[in-house]
């Protein structure tokens, strides 16, 4: 019994380790390029929910924000601070150190900026932008950073804005190592280290020692409570590497986002969750068997219902991973926004006594977020296993009650 169990663990760990590394080398570039498009979002967030009569104020505020790092903070803008913490950036911003003259000096780790424009590939560190203040000239192209997005300067060397203060210039293909990408590399390193040492243990003995003692119940949990009940027969073994990967990848990225000063918000980036959901969709589509497609295109209902059922089923193929994407993104982002808002309360009320109320709430929210981190990873993996199970299910006899 031990041997069998150990053999299964060893087997699935072996697949898991190699497949994990393989999947990561595919995941990382995919997510990297996706995050380039994910950066479109920031400017829309700034403007969308704001009413038109606030538009005048917006322009006034905008000049404040543009010189944000150079001058003293007149008003504490909670929305700006929260958005800044949630969004991706080309540098890893740590803290702002207040100087004697009232300004604050930002302390951040510069990250490589990789841009491709008109056949020209430029690689440089983001410190060249000086936190978005100075343009960078490489050859005959000048790049300007505005609100975290990089644009190509026009002939006068400036940005052109439209009415809503969005820049109209060309954008180069942005393949930079941004904060999210660097955080993903960090979580990849962590996972490879954790699972590497777990797998190494099983080369020597079937008895878990060290890291394996901690990981074995978790891996068995994914196998016995998520994969096996939902995917019938022995087919769960083919999908176990994928399920293990997304479970631990999502969990570790959720946890990374909760670290106080560093806090890279990886899973709260919709491009990241989009890619995870896209992988799930691809796996479902490519492992659907005849019974699965049969149910979708010819559901076991009276013929006159086909006109409704078939479009609904086809749309359903796409809404299920879509819901996976939105669920993970919204849960994690909402949690971060909540915690940051509680901190902002102290600065809005401008009194240290507020912290007496704010900090206990914050500690409670952080604890809840720890639970949510694990829970969302579990739910994502469970639903992925459920959908895959539905796709590979063998044809059973249909009674009146078996309308899927």
């Amino acid at each position: 019994m031990h041997r069998f169990l150990g053999g299964v663990i060893y087997g699935s760990m072996k697949i898991s380790n190699r497949a994990t590394k393989l999947l990561f080398t595919i995941l990382a570039p995919a997510l990297l390029s996706m995050s380039a498009f994910g950066q479109e979002h920031p400017q829309h967030d700034d403007h969308h929910g704001e009413a038109t009569e606030q538009h005048v104020d917006d322009h006034a505020n905008h000049d404040d924000h543009a010189d944000h790092h150079g001058e003293a903070d007149q008003e504490f803008d909670a929305v700006d601070m929260i958005m800044h913490h949630i969004q991706d950036a080309h540098e890893w911003h740590l803290v702002d150190i207040p100087q004697e003259d009232g300004t604050s000096k930002p302390v951040s780790i510069p990250l490589p900026v990789i841009l491709y424009y008109n056949g020209q590939l430029d690689v440089f560190m983001s410190s060249a932008f000086h936190h978005g203040h100075s343009p960078v000239t490489k050859g005959d192209v000048t790049y300007i950073m505005d609100h975290g997005n990089i644009y190509v300067a026009n002939a006068q060397g400036e940005l052109e804005y439209d009415e809503e203060h969005h820049a109209l210039n060309d954008k180069p293909l942005d393949l930079s190592i941004t904060k999210n990408v660097a955080a993903m590399f960090l979580s990849i390193l962590l996972l490879v280290w954790i699972f590497g040492s777990t797998a190494k243990n099983y080369k020597k003995t079937h008895v878990p020692r060290g890291m394996a003692k901690f990981m074995e119940p978790l891996v068995l949990f994914v196998r016995d409570d998520i994969a096996r009940p939902n995917i019938e027969g022995d087919k769960y073994k083919r999908y176990l590497p994928f399920l293990l990967t997304i479970f631990f990848f999502i969990w570790i990225n959720n946890l990374l986002g909760l670290i106080p000063v560093l806090a890279p918000n990886v899973t709260g980036n919709i491009a990241f969750t989009f890619v995870l959901a896209a992988f799930t969709l691809l796996i479902i589509l490519f492992s659907g068997n005849k019974a699965y497609w049969g149910h979708i295109l010819l559901p076991p209902v009276p013929w006159w219902l086909y006109i409704i059922m078939v479009p609904v089923e086809i749309i359903g193929i796409f809404t299920k991973p879509f819901a996976l994407m939105i669920r993970l993104f919204a849960n994690i982002t909402a949690g971060h926004i909540l915690i940051l808002s509680l901190v902002s309360l102290i600065f809005i009320f401008k009194t240290a006594w507020m912290s007496l109320m704010s900090v206990p709430f914050m500690i409670f929210m952080f604890t809840l977020e720890l639970l949510v981190a694990a829970l969302q990873a579990y739910i994502f993996t469970l639903l992925a296993a459920l959908f895959i199970g539905m796709a590979v299910e063998e044809h059973h006899g249909h009674g009146e009650e078996d309308v899927i």
Partner: protein, 67 residues
């Protein structure tokens, strides 16, 4: 007006979520009181249902607050 409508939309989604999850919690505890040995299974089912409902509610929040 857009800002206020967005906030109202968010509030409505949260209201729905609160009602739904409250009902789940209620039925779960009732079921556990009836049959204490099934507590583990009931708890698992409760957590899963709560997370799914929360997903839908946050879908509403995202749609109303960011669009």
């Amino acid at each position: 007006m857009t800002g206020t409508l967005a906030a109202i939309g968010v509030g409505l989604s949260v209201l729905g979520a609160g009602l739904g999850i409250g009902r789940i919690g209620g039925s779960a505890t009732e079921a556990m009181a009836r049959q204490p040995e099934a507590s583990g299974k009931i708890q698992t089912a409760m957590i899963i249902a709560a997370a799914l409902i929360e997903g839908v509610a946050l879908f509403g929040v995202v749609a109303s607050a960011f669009f």
